[in-house]
C-alpha cells in the first residue's frame, strides 16, 4: 500500500520540481497532519463501541458545570452556589473548581455556534479531550524540535499520539481536567524551554500564560511550579547560569504567579502555601546570584570576592530560613497538604488519610501497568536518557529532569503515569530518532562513498581510505539494515499494542457495562442510567439521595437530585457520617439519615451480574473512613479473623449493618446461577449469610433490571399512637 502510494508521490514531487528542502517540508507537514488526525480518531473507539457520552465519575461534574456555564453565563457560573450537593452544606462551585476545562469547552461551543454549527454541548464536551490530544502532538513535535531536532520532534508526535498512558485519560468522553491539562503542561514546558534557549521575554511571557492556563485547568500545576525551580537550581549548581535563564525564569515566575492568583480556587497559595515555596526560594536565589555576579564583575579580585560570597550566602540563607520559619510558625504559610505528602511518601496516605488511599487511581503503580501503558517506551526511555546525557544542553537537562521526576511520581500513583507520558515519549523519541538517523547516515554515506569512488576518483588517497573503510566494515551495512528492521518491527508492535489497549481497556465509559453473553453476543448493562433516570423522573425534585460518594456526581448530573456527599471529597466528616450510617444497624442509621433529611438511599450491588466494583466490595473503606472520625465504628467488628466475608461465616455486625441489608434485601429468593442455591452472590462467589432480611424504616423504591442499582425510600416516622 505504502509502496504503491509512494511512487506517484515521488513522481508528483519530481513533476513539481520541488527542492529537497521543500520536499522535506511537505513530507513533514503531511506527517504532522496525519498524526494530528490519527491522535483524534484513535480516541473515538468509545464513541463507536458505545455512544457519544460522558464517561466515569468526575467528567459528569465537569459536564454539569459546563452545561450551567453555557446556560447561565460566566458570572453566574463564577458565583454559583450549588445547593444540590453536600446537603445541607452546599458547595461554592465557582470557588472550588479549576474552571479551565469548562471555559474551554464553553468557548469552543460558542465559536461553533457563532459559525452556525448547531452542535450540542455534550458533543463538544465529549470531543474536547481528543481535540486537545491532537494539539498535544503538535506541541510534542515543536518540543522535540527544540530539544533535539525535527526528526525527534516527528517521532515524539507519533509516539505521544497513540501512547496508552495518555489515551487512558483522553478518550472521547473522558471530559476531565487532565484532558486539557496535559496539553497545557507540555505547552508550558515547551515555551519555558524555548524561553531559556532564546532568552526572549516574549517566549517567557508566553510560558507565563501557558502556566496560567495550566493553573486554571488542573491541580497538577504544582508539578510545574516545583519542577521548574528544581531545574533552575540544577542549572545553577552545574554552572549553567546565564542571562537567558534569568530572564526566562523571573518573567515566567512573577507573571505566572500573578496570573495564577486570578483563579479563585488557587488564590494566594503561591505566596502562602508550602508547596509553592520552592519556586519563591529559587526566585530569590536567582537575584542573589545575579547580584553576586555583578559584584564579581565589579570587584575583579578573587580573594575579596570569595569573602564577600561567603558573607552574602550565609546572610541570604539565614534570612530565607528565618522568613520561612516565621511564616510557618505564624501560620501564614500553610504546611504541605496530605496529597503532597503522599506523593513524597507513598505510605503516608495509607496510615493517615484513608479517603485518599481508598481511591483506586491513587494506588502505587504495578509493574504491569507500566508495561501496559508504555510498552517499548519503557526500554527506549533509558536509551533516550543516554543520548540526552551524550549531548547535554539546557533543553536536554530539562527533559531529563522532567522524565526522571515524573517517572518517580508515576511509580507512586497510578494516575500520574499520565504526567510522565509526554516526557517518556519525548525521551524515547530522541532514542528512536538518533538511532535511526545514525543507521541511515551509515547506509547513505556508504552508497555515496562507493559512487564517488567509482565515478570521480579525484583524490586517490581519499578513495583508497574509503575503500579501506568499506572492506574493514563489511557487516556494517547489513547490520544497519537489520537494526533498522528491528526498530521498524518494535515500532509497529508498539502501534498495534497501543491500538489494542485503546480499544479493549481504555474505551469503556464505565456507566454502561458490556459483557459477552452465553452465545458470544454482546450484552449491555445500562443499569446506572436506568436508576438515575428513574430518580430524575419519578422522585420529588427536592429529594435528597444518600449514597457512597463515588456516585454523587453522577446522581446530580444524570439524576438531577440533591446528594449528601459527592466525589469532591472536601469534607471528610460528612463522608464519614455517611460511612457510619452505612455501617450501622438500621435503627441507628435511621437517626443519622433523619438528621440529614435523607429521602432515598442508593446502593450499587453486583451480586446478580458479577459486577465486582460494587458497594459491598467498597464497604471496608466506608468502615475505615467512618471509623476514622467516629470511633464507634471499628473495622474488626466487620471481619472474621481478619477476613472479609459475606457468607454464613461473616461477622454478625456485618450481616446486620445497613449496607448489607440494602444490598441483599430479598436477594435470598433470587436464583442467580444454574446449579447454585438461591441467594448465590456471583460477584463474590458465595451464598449469602443472611437471607431473611427485614427492613423497618426503609422500603424498596426501585431496583434496576440487573439489580446493579437499588434505591430505597426512607419511610416517614410512624404515628405515635
Amino acid at each position: 500500500m505504502a509502496a504503491v502510494a509512494n511512487m506517484p508521490v515521488s513522481d508528483l514531487l519530481k513533476s513539481f520540481k520541488l527542492k529537497t528542502k521543500q520536499q522535506e517540508l511537505l513530507i513533514r507537514v503531511s506527517i504532522l497532519c496525519l498524526v494530528y488526525i490519527l491522535a483524534f480518531i484513535t480516541r473515538l473507539f468509545s464513541v463507536l463501541r458505545y455512544e457519544s457520552m460522558i464517561h466515569e465519575f468526575d467528567p459528569y461534574f465537569n459536564y454539569r458545570t459546563t452545561l450551567y456555564l453555557t446556560q447561565n453565563g460566566f458570572y453566574d457560573f463564577w458565583n454559583w452556589f450549588d445547593y444540590e450537593s453536600w446537603y445541607p452544606l452546599g458547595r461554592i462551585v465557582g470557588g472550588t473548581l479549576y474552571p479551565g476545562l469548562m471555559v474551554t469547552a464553553a468557548l469552543i461551543y460558542r465559536i461553533l455556534h457563532f459559525l452556525r454549527f448547531a452542535v450540542h454541548i455534550r458533543e463538544v464536551c465529549v470531543l474536547t479531550a481528543p481535540f486537545f490530544a491532537s494539539n498535544t502532538t503538535l506541541v510534542a513535535y515543536f518540543f522535540g524540535k527544540e530539544i533535539w531536532d525535527t526528526g525527534a520532534g516527528l517521532v515524539a508526535a507519533i509516539l505521544i499520539a497513540v501512547c496508552p498512558g495518555y489515551i487512558s485519560r483522553s478518550v472521547a468522553g473522558s471530559y476531565d481536567n487532565e484532558g486539557v491539562a496535559i496539553f497545557a503542561l507540555l505547552f508550558t514546558f515547551y515555551l519555558f524551554v524555548k524561553a531559556v534557549n532564546t532568552g526572549s521575554l516574549a517566549w517567557s511571557l508566553a510560558s507565563a500564560f501557558g502556566y496560567f492556563y495550566m493553573v486554571s485547568a488542573w491541580g497538577g500545576y504544582v508539578f510545574i511550579i516545583n519542577l521548574i525551580p528544581l531545574y533552575v537550581l540544577v542549572l545553577l549548581i552545574t554552572g549553567r547560569y546565564s542571562m537567558r535563564l534569568y530572564v526566562a525564569y523571573n518573567c515566567m515566575y512573577v507573571l505566572g504567579m500573578l496570573l495564577a492568583m486570578q483563579i479563585r480556587f488557587v488564590g494566594f497559595q503561591h505566596v502562602q502555601s508550602g508547596e509553592h515555596m520552592a519556586a519563591m526560594g529559587v526566585f530569590f536565589l536567582m537575584q542573589v546570584f545575579y547580584f553576586l555576579d555583578w559584584v564579581k564583575h565589579m570587584l575583579s579580585d578573587t580573594k575579596l570576592f570569595q569573602a564577600f560570597l561567603r558573607i552574602t550566602v550565609t546572610c541570604a540563607v539565614a534570612v530565607g530560613t528565618i522568613a520561612l520559619g516565621l511564616g510557618m510558625l505564624s501560620g501564614y504559610i500553610s504546611p504541605w497538604t496530605g496529597r503532597f505528602y503522599s506523593l513524597l511518601d507513598p505510605t503516608y496516605a495509607k496510615d493517615h488519610i484513608p479517603i485518599i488511599a481508598s481511591v483506586s487511581e491513587h494506588q502505587p503503580t504495578a509493574w504491569s501497568s507500566f508495561m501496559f501503558d508504555f510498552h517499548i517506551l519503557l526500554f527506549l526511555f533509558p536509551a533516550g536518557l543516554y543520548f540526552c546525557f551524550k549531548r547535554l544542553s539546557d533543553a536536554t537537562i530539562f527533559i531529563v529532569m522532567y522524565g526522571l521526576t515524573s517517572m518517580y511520581f508515576a511509580g507512586v500513583m497510578v494516575r500520574l503515569i499520565l504526567v510522565a507520558t509526554p516526557a517518556v515519549c519525548l525521551i524515547s523519541a530522541i532514542a528512536v530518532s538518533a538511532t535511526v538517523k545514525n543507521l541511515t547516515v551509515l547506509l547513505r554515506s556508504k552508497n555515496k562513498g562507493v559512487q564517488t569512488g567509482s565515478t570521480k576518483g579525484s583524490s586517490s588517497s581519499k578513495a583508497s581510505s574509503k575503500a579501506l573503510l568499506d572492506q574493514s566494515q563489511p557487516f556494517q551495512k547489513n547490520g544497519a539494515i537489520a537494526l533498522l528492521f528491528g526498530a521498524f518491527y518494535l515500532l509497529s508492535k508498539y502501534a498495534t499494542h497501543c491500538t489494542w489497549v485503546t480499544s479493549e481497556a481504555y474505551s469503556s465509559p464505565s456507566i454502561v457495562l458490556a459483557a459477552r453473553g452465553a452465545h458470544g453476543s454482546r450484552v449491555i448493562f445500562d443499569d446506572y442510567r436506568e436508576a438515575y433516570f428513574w430518580l430524575r423522573q419519578n422522585t420529588p425534585p427536592d429529594a435528597k439521595v444518600m449514597s457512597w460518594w463515588d456516585y454523587g456526581y453522577q446522581i446530580t448530573a444524570m439524576g438531577n437530585r440533591t446528594v449528601i456527599v459527592d466525589n469532591n471529597t472536601w469534607n471528610n466528616t460528612h463522608i464519614a457520617t455517611v460511612g457510619r450510617a452505612m455501617s450501622s444497624y438500621e435503627d441507628e442509621a435511621i437517626e443519622i439519615m433523619r438528621s440529614l433529611d435523607v429521602d432515598y438511599v442508593l446502593v450499587v450491588f453486583g451480586g446478580v451480574t458479577g459486577y465486582s466494583s460494587d458497594d459491598i466490595n467498597k464497604f471496608l473503606w466506608m468502615v475505615r473512613i467512618g471509623g476514622g472520625v467516629f470511633p464507634v465504628i471499628k473495622e474488626p467488628d466487620y471481619l472474621v479473623n481478619g477476613e472479609y466475608r459475606v457468607d454464613k461465616g461473616a461477622a454478625p455486625k456485618m450481616l446486620n449493618c445497613l449496607m448489607y441489608k440494602l444490598c441483599y434485601y430479598r436477594f435470598g429468593e433470587m436464583l442467580t446461577e444454574y446449579g447454585k442455591p438461591p441467594g448465590y452472590d456471583r460477584a463474590r462467589g458465595v451464598e449469602i449469610g443472611n437471607k431473611d432480611i427485614k427492613l423497618e424504616h426503609l422500603e424498596e423504591a426501585f431496583t434496576t433490571s440487573n439489580w446493579i442499582v437499588r434505591i430505597y425510600k426512607v419511610k416517614p416516622p410512624n404515628n405515635r399512637w
Binding site: E51, N197, S200, V512, E530, W534, Q537, N538, A701, T703
Partner: protein
C-alpha cells in the same frame, strides 16, 4: 345562556336525567331515530363508541343535517368524531365518509355540545338512512382506587348514560359495553340490563324523548397500561439534498392508577402476570417504510432497548422505556429517524412544493394531550402555508441550523387531545428555488478557499520587524512589506550568518536585542 343550569350540569350528571321537550327549531323535530345501537369498547384506555343510527325524516322538507349531542363535561375528552354512510345495495355496499363539524346551538339544554353530520344527499320526507358514527373518548376511565400497589390489579370507573343523548326522539335503542375481562365489580342497573361474559347490555329501551339521560357507573378491571403522551413535539426538517429528518420528543406518563409503596424487582421478574399487570413495559411505534438512521434516546444518552423491524410497507419500532412505567411514573425520550425525501415531497400544479406527512403520533394506542408539529423548511423558502384536515393553531418561527445565515422558516402547528385514529396526513406548501441548495456548499468552499489564500499570503509576506543598526544601537522600525521570495531567502541567509552560533553567555550583558 342558562348559567345556573349549566353550572349544575357540570356538577353532576344526574340533572341530565331530566327530560327536555324543546321543539323550537324545525329540523330537529322533523327527524327521528327509528333504531339506534351503541357499542362502547372500554378494553383499552381509549374508549371507542360505535353508534349505528337509523334516521328517518318525518317532516315535509328535505334535510341534510343530522345532529349529535354530547354532555359538556365529556366534550373535552372527545378526541374525534367520524360519520360514515353505507351506499349501494346489499353485498356491494361501500362506506362513504361524511363531513362532521362542531356546531353551536343557541338554546342547547344544560350546555350540551353538538356535532353536525352533513349528509351527502338530502334526506327527503319519509326517507330513511343508516349512519355509522365512531367517536373516541380519552381520559374517560377513572382509576378507582386511585392508588394501587404492585400486585394489585387496576380497577376503573366508567361513567356514561344508559340512554343515548340525542336531540331527536329515539324509538328503539340498545347499548353494549365491552369490558376487558369478566371481572366487573359493579354496574348501575337500568332495567332491562344484562351482563354476559365481558359484555353488559342496556336496553332495548323504547320511545325515549329527546335529551333523555340516565347516568350509569361501571366499575371494572382494566389492566391495560394507560400510555399518555403529555406533550409531543415533532420536528420535520426538509433537506432538498434528499433527506427528511424527523425528531420526536415525548413526555410519556402512565395515566392509570398511581403506584404506591414498594417496587420489588423480585416479584416483577418472577411473577410477571400477577405483579405489575398494568405496568407499561413497551410501546410500538409505526413508522413510514424506508426509514433509516433511527435513534431512541433521552437526556442522558442512548436507550439500548429498542428493536426495529422493517418491510416494504411499514416499519415498526418497538421501544422499551428504561424502566417499566407504573401508574403515575414518567419518562421522557426522543425518537429520531430519517426518511427519503421523494416519498413525501411533491410538486403541486402551481409550481409550489408541498410536504405530505402524517400528523399524529406514531405510537399505537396512545393518547396525546398536546401535539406540536414543526416543519422546518429549507433556508430560502417562501410563502409557507399548512393544510390540516382539522382545526389547529398555527404560527411561524425561525430556526438556525448548520451554516444558516438568515435562518429557516418553521411552520408550527399545535393541536390538543389527539388519538392515533387521527394520524391523517397534512400538507405544507411553500416555494423554493433550487439555487439556494448551493448556498451552503459554496459558502464552505469559499471559506476554505479564503483560508488557503490566507495561508499562501502569510507565507509570502514578511511580517518581521527588520533591524537597522545605527551607531551600534539597535533601532527597530515596524512595517510589513511584500518582498520577492528570493530576497526573503537571501535575507534569511544573512540573518543566519549574522546570528551567533551559540546562545549568548552569562556575562554577555551588553544591550543585545532579544529575539531578533
Amino acid at each position: 345562556m342558562e348559567v345556573p343550569i349549566r353550572a349544575t350540569g357540570i356538577l353532576g350528571f344526574t340533572f341530565f336525567s331530566l327530560l327536555f321537550f324543546i321543539c323550537t327549531s324545525s329540523p330537529l323535530h322533523n327527524l327521528f331515530i327509528s333504531n339506534a345501537e351503541r357499542r362502547i369498547d372500554a378494553t383499552s384506555h381509549i374508549v371507542k363508541v360505535y353508534l349505528t343510527l337509523k334516521v328517518e325524516n318525518a317532516g315535509s322538507t328535505p334535510t341534510s343535517e343530522v345532529l349529535l349531542a354530547f354532555p359538556p363535561t365529556r366534550v373535552d375528552h372527545l378526541a374525534t368524531v367520524e360519520a360514515l354512510v353505507t351506499k349501494g345495495k346489499r353485498k356491494k355496499t361501500t362506506l362513504v365518509r361524511l363531513d362532521v363539524k362542531p356546531t353551536e346551538l343557541p338554546d342547547a339544554p344544560n350546555g350540551a355540545k353538538y356535532f353536525t353530520i352533513y349528509l351527502a344527499n338530502p334526506l327527503n320526507s319519509g326517507e330513511s338512512t343508516t349512519l355509522e358514527v365512531l367517536y373516541l373518548f380519552t381520559h374517560s376511565l377513572e382509576p378507582f382506587p386511585a392508588e394501587i400497589g404492585q400486585s394489585e390489579s387496576q380497577l376503573v370507573h366508567y361513567r356514561d348514560s344508559a340512554l343515548i343523548l340525542s336531540p331527536y326522539h329515539i324509538k328503539q335503542q340498545t347499548t353494549f359495553i365491552k369490558t376487558p375481562s369478566s371481572k366487573v365489580e359493579s354496574f348501575t342497573r337500568v332495567e332491562p340490563t344484562n351482563r354476559a361474559g365481558t359484555e353488559i347490555k342496556y336496553g332495548p329501551y323504547e320511545d325515549r324523548p329527546p335529551y333523555s339521560f340516565s347516568p350509569i357507573l361501571i366499575h371494572f378491571e382494566n389492566n391495560s397500561p394507560f400510555p399518555v403522551v403529555e406533550e409531543l413535539v415533532r420536528e420535520v426538517e426538509i433537506s432538498h439534498w434528499g433527506n427528511l429528518q424527523v425528531t420526536e420528543q415525548y413526555t410519556l406518563v402512565h395515566g392509570g392508577a398511581r403506584h404506591k409503596g414498594v417496587f420489588s424487582r423480585v416479584d416483577f421478574q418472577s411473577r410477571p402476570t400477577l405483579s405489575g399487570a398494568s405496568s407499561l413495559r413497551h410501546l410500538l411505534a409505526r413508522l413510514p417504510p424506508r426509514v433509516h438512521s433511527v435513534y431512541y434516546r433521552d437526556e442522558i444518552g442512548n436507550i439500548s432497548s429498542s428493536h426495529l423491524r422493517t418491510d416494504s410497507r411499514k416499519s415498526e419500532l418497538e421501544i422499551e422505556p428504561r424502566y417499566p412505567l407504573f401508574g403515575g411514573w414518567k419518562a421522557t425520550f426522543v425518537i429520531g429517524y430519517g426518511l427519503p425525501l421523494q416519498d413525501f415531497l411533491f410538486e403541486s400544479s402551481d409550481d409550489r412544493r408541498y410536504l405530505n406527512f402524517t400528523f399524529g403520533c406514531p405510537l399505537l394506542e396512545t393518547v396525546v394531550d398536546k401535539l406540536t408539529v414543526k416543519v422546518v423548511l429549507p433556508e430560502g423558502s417562501k410563502d409557507p402555508s399548512a393544510v390540516v384536515p382539522f382545526p389547529v393553531d398555527q404560527h411561524l418561527e425561525t430556526k438556525y441550523s448548520y451554516l444558516d445565515v438568515v435562518g429557516r422558516t418553521v411552520v408550527v402547528v399545535e393541536k390538543k387531545n389527539l388519538v392515533p385514529v387521527q394520524n391523517s396526513h397534512f400538507q405544507v406548501y411553500y416555494t423554493f428555488k433550487p439555487i439556494f441548495m448551493l448556498a451552503e456548499p459554496l459558502m464552505l468552499a469559499s471559506a476554505f478557499f479564503l483560508f488557503f489564500v490566507a495561508c499562501v499570503a502569510y507565507l509570502h509576506i514578511d511580517l518581521s520587524i527588520p533591524m537597522l543598526s545605527v551607531r551600534g544601537v539597535n533601532i527597530r522600525y515596524g512595517c510589513a512589506k511584500i518582498k520577492p521570495i528570493s530576497k526573503c531567502v537571501s535575507d534569511m541567509k544573512e540573518t543566519k550568518l549574522s546570528d551567533p552560533a551559540d546562545p549568548p553567555a552569562m556575562n554577555d550583558s551588553s544591550n543585545r536585542s532579544l529575539g531578533g
